[in-house]
Amino acid sequence: MGRKLLLEHIHVPGINTLEVYRQKGGYRALEKAIKTLTPDEVVEEVKKSGLRGRGGAGFPTGMKWSFLAKPERVARYLVCNADESEPGTFKDRYLMTYIPHALIEGMIVSSYALGANTSYIYVRGEMMPQIRILEKAIAEAKNAGLLGKNILGSGYDLELYVQPGGGAYICGEETALLESLEGKRGNPRIKPPFPAIAGLYGCPTVVNNVESIAAVVPIINNGGEEYAKIGIGRSTGTKLISASGNIVKPGVYEIELGLPVEEFIYSDEWCGGIANGKQLKATVAGGSSVPILPANLSLKLANGDPRLMSYESLSEGGFATGSMMGSGGFIAFDEDQCIVRNTWNFARFYHHESCGQCSPCREGTGWMEKVLHRLEYGHGKMSDIDLLVNVAKNIEGNTICPLGDAAAWPVASAIRHFRDEFEWHVKEPAKALNINYGLANYAAPIAKAEVTIGN
């Protein structure tokens, strides 16, 4: 059983209330930070912990904090990114629903570290129940003197507000989120300037994911060095993994980074194997944006070593044979799933969610969706496959924000690893409408898969 830092008490009845949360040691980190540490010392602990942003990019949180500009008499803001919308990811919803005070406490400690006196939690609008939960938790904390003026007699003031989004995946991008929080369309801003210099209302701002902020609590409680001891290499600590798709036990799991992927999928402690006695065909390891991998490359590296759930191991092999940790949205596909259909589905998602600012993403996402739809419904041409690769290439890296990349990677990777299945859709359109291509050799031993590498 792995160490649990965030979800240790998740099953304790009433843990969503301040009273029970405190009984279980809640708000100790706040007391420790505000009474015994300076803001810079809190930043230092987070730096030492090696915590990497849990929203998807994996950028070291402590370093992000240290970039925050601190001009005199200019407000600074901490904004929590709770716009969880990456397909496959639902960990933040889980955390906010069941243990909201973990986020509130993390927000207060982090705001103290950054010198913010007003902070916002930007929650996607669809999570109205979670918004109500957080509002209630904030009210509780405020009544207990943990928020508001002169927190715990320290002289530090903080107001914390929940802001609902309006329904837009793009607002998970931090500058789009800030635009949205300013009451505008969620169009990502051109960087530089980065939010650390000019963010919310033009003031220095840090935007952090829910899980990153919540992780600050155990980091302060146990010390950054202790946190860094968990995990493997530069992937320190624990990570919430949202497991979905064709597995026996979908749900949110807290793992120590470094857990073998195979163990995560098949152990009864975690996903419990593939549902209905089927076989694993493919995985998307970190949310829909990251490259999809066939079963063999999901479980093993190209050299045959086991693949681990860590930032480094999941991306081992680059895009040729690897994927990414992303936001930890782990989706498993069984042998009955159609890769072409799923790729079309994801392409439709990105088409729907493109903000429309940059021409390659605005036009290219819709184009890819149409071509994939044609392939899935039996009207595709062999040339469509290379066309998709080329359109994806023309979008990738050529947009203001990473949505272009996120739209291009799933398409490019699906064709890279499952080209035979795409070709089958063209050659056997009638069959493809009624039956699935099946497992093919996607779960075959790695040696075979290496032949296809470099496509």
């Binding site: 021409s359 605005r362 996402t365 184009w367």
Partner: protein, 334 residues
């Protein structure tokens, strides 16, 4: 620290003020190495970064940090650093990527140039001539919108729009109240007033001048003539609202339309008011200055007397001179 920095673009070094963008540094050099810009507009704050046609490769970040930038960057919104080295037309990667962008801009564009009033002075037409593919790889129905009148002077052909946002910035920054904007999201985005509202403002006509394509056109000029058959003359008048400095577009003795004066990058020199643009269409309203300088590369120049000089091949050949007598007399006349 000096307030000047050195940047090298396609092997040409120039010294520019600190904070200059790569695009503007390239414009200081001039010529073929200037990246095309469809959304950036130097007179509109916040513009640029969106269309991606001005992308370039930064092969050396700066003297201090010589690492190349990992991705191609939008030259209009990337600031030069001292010692930066940039590749535009010397990089095949850039040329290919730009072709990719042009293709994206065209897949949903109606390509109705034969009936478009912007033809001949259209940035997209020029761009696709230089970078476009000869045939489209897009085999789906193009997106369409209804044509709408925004007020009695401006017509919006949303089908042609490339969502550069220039007109929105113009309305925000030049007029006192913005009534049109970008509605919806992604490739459903459209320029609209949402509820039928006339754009009535002293400076609203400038949206026509800043539009790089034929999406916003002057209804008073609609289908009156092809721009390359009209002759541009710079003129001015005393105007209380604007500078009164304009270009008059003549056909014969008639002023068919009035626009702001544009520089070689198609940007207006000074924004003009609607009275000058729409209501002053008699020569008597204006003090005529001189024929407008038109770039030789422009299709408008082909019928423009300022550049209607006999080609060298004609100058040296009496027979050809005789054959072109009428045209040559025209030149002499002006």
């Amino acid at each position: 620290m000096s307030d000047k920095v050195k940047v090298t673009i396609d092997g040409i070094t120039v010294e520019v003020a600190l904070g200059t963008s790569i695009l503007n540094a390239a414009r200081q050099i001039g010529g073929d190495i200037v990246p095309p810009a469809m959304c950036y507009y130097s007179k509109l704050e916040g513009s640029g970064g969106k269309c991606r046609t001005c992308i370039v490769k930064v092969s050396k970040g700066s003297e201090k940090d010589p690492r190349p930038m990992p991705k191609l960057v939008a030259s209009c919104r990337t600031t030069v650093m001292d010692g930066m080295e940039v590749q535009n037309i010397t990089s095949t990667e850039v040329i290919e990527a730009r072709s990719g962008v042009v293709e994206m801009l065209l897949i949903n564009h109606p390509l109705d140039c034969p009936v478009c009033d912007q033809a001949g002075e259209c940035d997209l037409q020029n761009l696709s001539y230089e970078h476009g593919l000869q045939k489209t790889r897009y085999e789906f129905e193009r997106r369409t919108f209804d044509r709408i009148d925004i007020g009695d002077k401006i017509q919006l052909h949303m089908n042609r729009c490339i969502l550069c946002y220039r007109c929105v910035f113009t309305a925000d920054q030049i007029t006192n109240k913005r009534v049109h904007g970008i509605l919806n999201r992604g490739d459903h985005s459209e320029i609209s007033t949402y509820i039928q509202t006339a754009v009535n403002n002293d400076f609203s006509g400038n949206v026509i001048d800043v539009c790089p394509v034929g999406a916003l056109t002057d209804k008073t000029f609609r289908f009156r003539n092809r721009v390359w058959f009209t002759k541009p003359i710079d003129a001015h008048r005393e105007c209380l609202t604007c500078s009164g400095k304009v270009t008059l577009w003549y056909k014969g003795d008639d002023v068919l339309r009035v626009t702001a004066r544009k520089d070689i990058y198609g940007e207006v020199e000074e924004f003009i008011c609607n009275t000058c643009r729409f209501d002053k269409k008699k020569t008597a309203d204006w003090v005529i200055e001189h024929p407008t300088h038109i770039s030789d590369a422009s299709v408008i120049a082909s019928n423009h007397y300022e550049t209607l000089k006999p080609l060298p091949v004609i100058q040296n050949n009496p027979q050809l001179q005789q054959a072109n007598k009428v045209e040559l007399e025209k030149t002499a006349k002006f």
